[in-house]
Amino acid sequence: MPGIVTCEVKMHQEVSPGHYRLVVHSPQLAGEAQAGQFCMLEVQAGLFPFLRRPMCFERIFKDSVSILYKIEGEGTRLLSRLTQGQTISIQGPLGKPWPLDESIERHIFVAGGIGVAPFPALAEAMIAKLGKTPEVILAARTESMLLCEEEFHQMGCKVHLATDDGSAGEKAFASEVLTRLNPGTGTMVHCCGPMVMMKATHVACEALGIPCMTSLEAEMACGDGVCLGCVVESTIEIEAERMVRVCYDGPVFESTLINWAAY
């Protein structure tokens, strides 16, 4: 059940230029949160910013959770000033957990930039609950934006790097790397990153004939399925169900459910 918890900051560090990791103490969130879910952070008291900021759980520990975020605008810039020992109001856990399919043999993550954020928790869940270690394609514009490589290595994941400028790994798009990994029947792809990248990954998976899960982003007000502000158009043709809520029906969707034509 989602709730609002005041959490103490245990650690807050810049992990690469403009990217931070925030670890907060909360047995409640740690106990309830599952990989793929997210929370809404109250950046600071007062009316600016007016809305909370959605962030997914990077990792879920015994009595704390971590959030990995990128400075995008004013809200995340203010958030980065939070120091150890201070408190922050967090609403969550929200959204549906990432589905874990026991029948799948091979799991491949496709992470673009800060889109890597939900994957460490998902890798841990897959290893613990399915006994399967996922492979990871980490893609970004440039080397300094490749995050979590070390964490995945520690979990025993095979990691493939790709950058737009060739500063690390292959100079290629993630979807190209994916195709070259020869994913066959029994493979499932899990993707999070910029919309264009998720669309390309969806298209690649369609061509390969394998299922693809995508974790979407949308501007959110309530995070709880109430305001109907965060919808994306689905491929469902029933009028009443055409719009799906990223916050409540997702954020993780089977890619074939989304109407990618709009992106």
Partner: protein, 311 residues
Amino acid sequence: MGTSVDLSINLGGLKMKNPVTVGSGTFAYGQEYNSYFDVSRLGAVTTKSLSLQPRAGNNPPRLVETPAGMLNAIGLQNVGIDVYLKEKAPWLREHGCTIIGNIYGASPEEYAELAQRLEAEGAADAIEANLSCPNVHNAKTARGCTLVAQDPELVKAYTEAIRAATKLPLFIKLSPNVIDIAEPALAAEAAGADAISAINTITSMGINPETRKPILSNIVGGLSGPAIRPVAVKLVWDLSKVLKIPVLGMGGITNASDAMQFILAGATGVAIGSYTFRHPTAAMEVIDGLEDYCQRHDVAKITDLVGAMEV
């Protein structure tokens, strides 16, 4: 201190245990927020606007944050009256909630049918007719208005049609986008409305200078939140000066002292809207805060404060 305060009100025939409800569209169908607080504590739950058929609403993007508020163009996405009656209303009833059923139709006949069905099924204790949503494309009226609520003649016709269809307390929800809000309000009152709800969101828009495109796919949307509160308080005051029927005031309320501004300006009831998104327990805290206010000011009944601004 510690003496009990009477927070109960009678809003045009709707008895509420306290003056606090929620803005339509900011609380879905009630159940969604029950994990944060016992929603039956509210004076009433106001539903999302219900239409005869389910509506998918506008294309995304539908939402953007603004200074002290937000801009939305949801386009009245809702489950439709049938699903509401079957799946949503029973939950509200089981949990002992007082229900304000908010309705939206494309014609007086549709509004009348919606009101009649809500009453017949016992699925609302009052009807709030949304004549003022800025996010649906209504054909321009003969007098060049885009909202029913902007045309007193239409407000009269719609109110009469709904009035004839239901005996439930009938609230007419008005738009701030008018020259003189007294005109549609008096038209509604003359046609048999039991209360006026004000305000709906303020028509507004935003443009992304980098892409030169409108931020909302609908181009225009409605502004809500604390940014609009001073406008709303003024319009509630305008209404309370001319109306005999009570006012349900809303627009940017975040806490009890905001709510008191509306009550002192003449609102009998208040609704918490967008701020619930930021702070889901806001409405409950307003109830507690109003009680505390009355105790601090030695007031036995909240209704003694309605319109009690001292000039």
